[in-house]
């Protein structure tokens, strides 16, 4: 029987939704037990996780000086605990991608990156080549270390759990690495990774100033905002808005994009969206091959018209 240890992600104030998605994936393994480890001194966060049905125990490890986000500091503690489990899983977010391979290396195994489907406790599907091929992998190591492609699973929303919370302090902090700062573009818009609706813009939007209309439309319908790599590289928008192979992989109900051509690296990030709407002035743009609804036209005419009619 399987026993799963999950690495939870948080920002100090709230548990990241990726945790509930990893939990949903872990439940598909039909395990004997699911335990969760999180690195923070804020036990309130541990209580949030303990409320999910099916969680057995939460290990809450307090860290000083912001070591709770540093892979080199937390991986040894997670790997050590992980020896008691058959599966040690984390989210395929930048946090999980940073930490989990270290855990795998400490446990002497290769990691299964970006699990998108669970066949059985040892067999999984995952994307390669920016999602242009899907492989089935099989592994029978004592521990299976994996990251879960969060866009492939819906968040576990169960309540009524009563897992016990065990507190401890981190004794593996790595002195060679220290946290300096985090700068994030504070915005009141919904979070790109979890939003039901996303409006995004590409190089076709043309400038930072022009992005104002993309934001206005997003606010009008309560959407999060995203962008292509070209728009980020050109400095129109911050990096945390990038969607795609090397940005965020998202699965909103509605993805509406303006002035994005539809390069494979961008499409990887939106394949699981419910409805894709594309607006592009070039009728041959590859984005129309994947769009559920396409409209050929100039975004500078179409957005104002939508603002008026919505």
């Amino acid at each position: 029987m399987s026993k799963v240890l999950i690495l939870a992600e948080h920002n100090g104030n709230a548990i990241n939704q990726s945790t509930a998605k990893v939990l949903a994936a872990a439940k598909q393994l039909n395990p004997e037990a699911i335990d969760v480890m999180l690195f923070t001194g804020n036990t309130g966060l541990a209580t949030q996780i303990a409320g999910h049905e099916g969680v057995n125990q939460v290990f809450c490890v307090a860290c000083e000086d912001n070591h709770d986000q540093l892979a080199a500091s937390i991986a040894p503690t997670l790997a050590d605990k992980g020896k008691e489990y058959t599966h040690v899983w984390g989210p395929s977010t930048t946090f999980g991608k940073d930490v989990m391979p270290r855990v795998a290396a400490l446990l002497g195994v290769n990691q299964v990156s970006d699990v998108m489907e669970i066949i059985d406790a040892h067999t999984f599907k995952r994307p390669i080549y920016a999602g242009n091929a899907i492989i089935t992998v099989n592994t029978d190591t004592a521990q299976i270390v994996a990251t879960v492609r969060t866009a492939s699973f819906s968040a576990d929303k169960t309540t009524g759990g009563s897992a016990s919370v065990e507190e401890s302090t981190l004794n593996t902090a790595a002195n060679h690495t220290s946290f300096v700062k985090l700068s994030s573009g504070d915005s009141d818009r919904p979070d790109l990774q979890t939003a039901d609706k996303v409006i995004s813009g590409g190089r076709g939007v043309g400038s930072e100033e022009n992005f104002a209309i993309v934001y206005q439309l997003a606010d009008k319908i309560g959407a999060a905002t995203g962008a292509s790599r070209a728009a980020v590289d050109a400095g129109y928008v911050p990096n945390d808005m990038q969607v795609g192979q090397t940005g965020k992989i998202i699965a909103p109900d509605l993805y509406m994009c303006f002035g994005i051509s539809g390069a494979i690296q961008h499409l990887t990030g939106i394949k699981d969206a419910g409805t894709i709407v594309a607006i592009n002035k070039d009728g041959d743009a590859p984005i129309f091959e994947v769009a559920d609804v396409g409209l050929v036209g100039d975004l500078f005419k179409i957005i104002p018209e939508m603002m008026e009619k919505l």
Binding site: D98, P101, A133, G185, D240
Partner: protein, 250 residues
């Protein structure tokens, strides 16, 4: 200081790869091969550090088939001083790649290792972190800016929440993200010059005879599920009507 850059030969990012009909792999015959784009950024960054006088040698290394010599030559045409090919006829997985790279580190004693955050073929995003772990040194993954501060590195990282800055002591492993730099184009005279630069070939079995850990078995390749064919509309009114019908806007 010496900088070691680890690179990989992969199918060029412009190629739309196709799964073979029998599911045994993806078709790579006659397909254009290149340096993994993230690794190209790693080479560029190492060269810029050297050009600023903060390093005196840039060594590129790859693990791969003999054909990978092409990519090493390209790296030397960009400006790397010499190259090492650890020849392996079978593809190595990240944990094994990290062990091989550790052997190279033991021989070369670099002050900094830079490599791409992921290879765009298997998209694993594991080797740099594993190498840092086995080497017992710090890692700075997904770097979009590297500065020398207080005898170590201050690295800005692209994370989901925005940009995170961390300070690491040297030696360290840095993995590159796309916005770290824009790699230079190689010029013809440099390609000629690169032919005379040293390229050392080592057999993987001799360099690292006792690799630990199992490989993950790949049992099947398949094409992704295609999305259903969509429709084109002519007007904003039609578009809004569809969105309303689907309950996506009110």
């Amino acid at each position: 200081m010496k900088i070691l850059v680890a690179i990989k030969r992969v199918v060029d990012y412009n190629v739309r790869v196709q799964v073979k009909p029998d599911g045994s792999g993806v078709a790579t015959d006659g397909v254009k091969m290149s340096i993994n784009p993230f690794d190209e950024i790693a080479i560029e960054e190492a060269l810029r550090i050297k050009e600023q006088g903060k390093a005196d040698e840039v060594v590129v290394v790859t693990i791969g088939t003999n054909d990978s010599q092409q990519q090493l030559r390209t790296a030397m045409a960009m400006g790397a001083d010499r190259a090492i090919l650890v020849e392996s006829d079978v593809a190595v997985q990240p944990l094994q790649a990290a062990q091989v790279l550790l052997k190279v580190i033991e021989q070369e004693s670099p002050g900094l290792v830079i490599t791409g955050k992921q290879a765009i073929d298997d998209d694993n995003n594991q080797t740099p972190q594993m190498l840092a772990t086995l080497w017992n040194r710090p890692q700075a993954t997904f770097a979009s800016k590297i500065e020398f501060v207080d005898g170590g590195l201050q690295v800005t990282r692209e994370v989901d929440a925005g940009l995170e800055t961390i300070q690491v002591e040297l030696p360290a492993v840095v993995s590159t993200d796309l916005r770290l730099n824009e790699p230079r184009f190689v010029k013809l005279p440099d390609i000629m010059k690169a032919k005379r630069k040293p390229l050392d070939v080592k057999a993987i079995g001799e360099l690292a005879p006792d690799l630990q850990g199992k490989a993950i078995e790949v049992t099947q390749h398949e094409a992704p599920q295609p999305r259903q064919k969509g429709i084109m509309v002519e007007t904003v009114d039609e578009l809004i009507e569809i969105l309303k019908d689907k309950g996506l806007v009110s």
